[in-house]
Amino acid sequence: MSSTDQAAPQPPMPMPTRPERRSAPTILHKAKALQDRWPILQIVLLIAVFIYGTSTIEGFSTWPSIKLILVLAAIAGIASMGQTLLILMGGFDLSVAGFIVAGGLFTLSVRNEYDLSFGVALIIVLFVAALMGAAAGNICHRFNIQPLIVTLAMGTLAVGIVQVQTAGGSGYVEGGSAPPWLSKLVSPGSSTLGVSVPPVVAIWALLAVLFGFFLYKTRQGRQLLATGANPRAAEYSLIKTRRVWTLAFAFSACASVLVGLLVAGFSGSINLTAGDPYLFQSVVAVIVGGTVFGGPGDYWRTVVGALFLTVVSVVLVGNGATPAAQQIFYGVAILFGVSLYGRGRRLRDRV
């Protein structure tokens, strides 16, 4: 992968300096090093945007409003889990939206056509999603193809397969609404074990801890990071990189299916375009958080990215921004994020 041949983070040097002439680290270098370690800029911006929101929008910093922001951030954050994993590994997932829609539609409405219970429907859709994700990862690795292309195909295929089961391909089935417990799970008004925090936020916090543990403290997590850092070296260290790719893509597809349930629970129903915003958000959250293709990075950075993204979106909408402006913001945020962290090597350094 071209994405993985980048060197360890290096300070951008305006001129090629020889090692012996390198001057003492300036404040700028220190700041850059610190920024590489911690997403300080993002947190400062997050606080700044939050303060701006408090001053311009009535009741922005009240607890109910913060709970709503947390729920939105939690859904975006959970939707970015698979994306974080894949980007760390040097992959990319454009099928997030497709699997969200497929998962939500099948478990909520299409199952009624076959008289399946919720649980059985969920197992079926998870199984199929895992198979399709695994196929995507395997194809990408086997033929060294841009993951973007294969996942684009898989996402379209996933939606298509569910869509053809609805009446006339309308994507609508009678009686397709979220079960009450699901709505309660993501409702900003509900509480977890008596504490006034929505359950989905508590789940997100738990997942963030588990994810961090998985990535850095388990063998599989380490293998994934090694695959992202240098696939060739990982292969020489007897890591089966193709298996890592296959499993990671399967995980991402399944995670997206589960997010489909959360999305359906949050909005009460699901339609064919319900997944699109989460595709954008997952990419933006990971990249703005400072996770780079092939690593380094971490899930808690994505958590910061998701919070930042959500607060900015809410402030934008609260100040009357159109969906068009939000869309443009997503694009610019990605560019800004990658130019901060994800720059490749100069060609002359690769010769």
Partner: protein, 330 residues
Amino acid sequence: MAVSEASAPLIPSRRPAPLRILRRYSFAFALLLTVVLLIVNMLTSTGGFGWTAQLAVFAPLALAAMASTPAILSGGGGFDLSISPLMVFTSAAFAAWFVPAGLDGPIVVPLMLALGASVGLANGLLIAILRVQPVVVTLSTYFVLIGVNMAVLPNSVTVSDNWTANLAGTVGPIPGALFLILAPLAIWALIGLIPYRRQLMAVGSNDAAAFSSGVNVVAVRVGAYALGGMFAGIGGLAMIALEKSASASLSTTYTLLAIAAVALGGTSLWGGRGGLIGAVFGAATVYLLSNLLQTLQIDPAWLQVLYGVVLIVAVLFGGLTQRANTAATS
């Protein structure tokens, strides 16, 4: 990937004939599919094939595929995801800016080309200057352009009957869409007369080697995105001619289809091999397949499934031929 390709046979075996033809003419497979599908389509269609109308519907897809090709040829993970929204953006500019400003007639054509080329150029410069993966840069321009399209076209704008109708109809006895499809091919052929096209292929095959041989890799890559953007400008014209209107909701229509067409057309997704003719035949294959589905009156929802499957098959086909090629040459 080099790891798994190390198992090539030591003694090069003689390649089977189909592979030899494919190696020489990378578009041969798509050409074969096009011919077969065309015959099937003409046999199944009732009441004549309707060349003029069919070509008009086909033109935007063919142009999207051709516009996606230069970036892919330039290698290094080169890829332009923003072609489809860019086509809509140029059509939006036509319907919402140029026509109301009284700019009518063929004078708009260079404007559309320049607009497309400048967005492509911006893509290329961002990729070259920021040194960020092309996929990421064009994904963000994809988002930005969709947003811009929504802002420029809150509602779809209808273009009242003007000269572009000829491009979807006929110019004299010739279907107008042919001009649109042939324009990029003519430009591509002209570029073949200067060193640029060879340099593009060299950069796509091995950028470090091209750099060592004195090719200005950055300029060649930036040029590829600008060229693709220019073709997208022609695509915008084709969309206007077909739809007689511009609508932001069409922004992502051709994203997947264009990639599928390019891959089917034999252009290597790793860069350096292929060309515009392959993209046209690849697009023809995709178009004729979906056309066949409609003639057979199959539920339109199946189109989604078909497109997904076609793209995966195209990618697998590309991967397998590439592998066969490397195995046979090493």
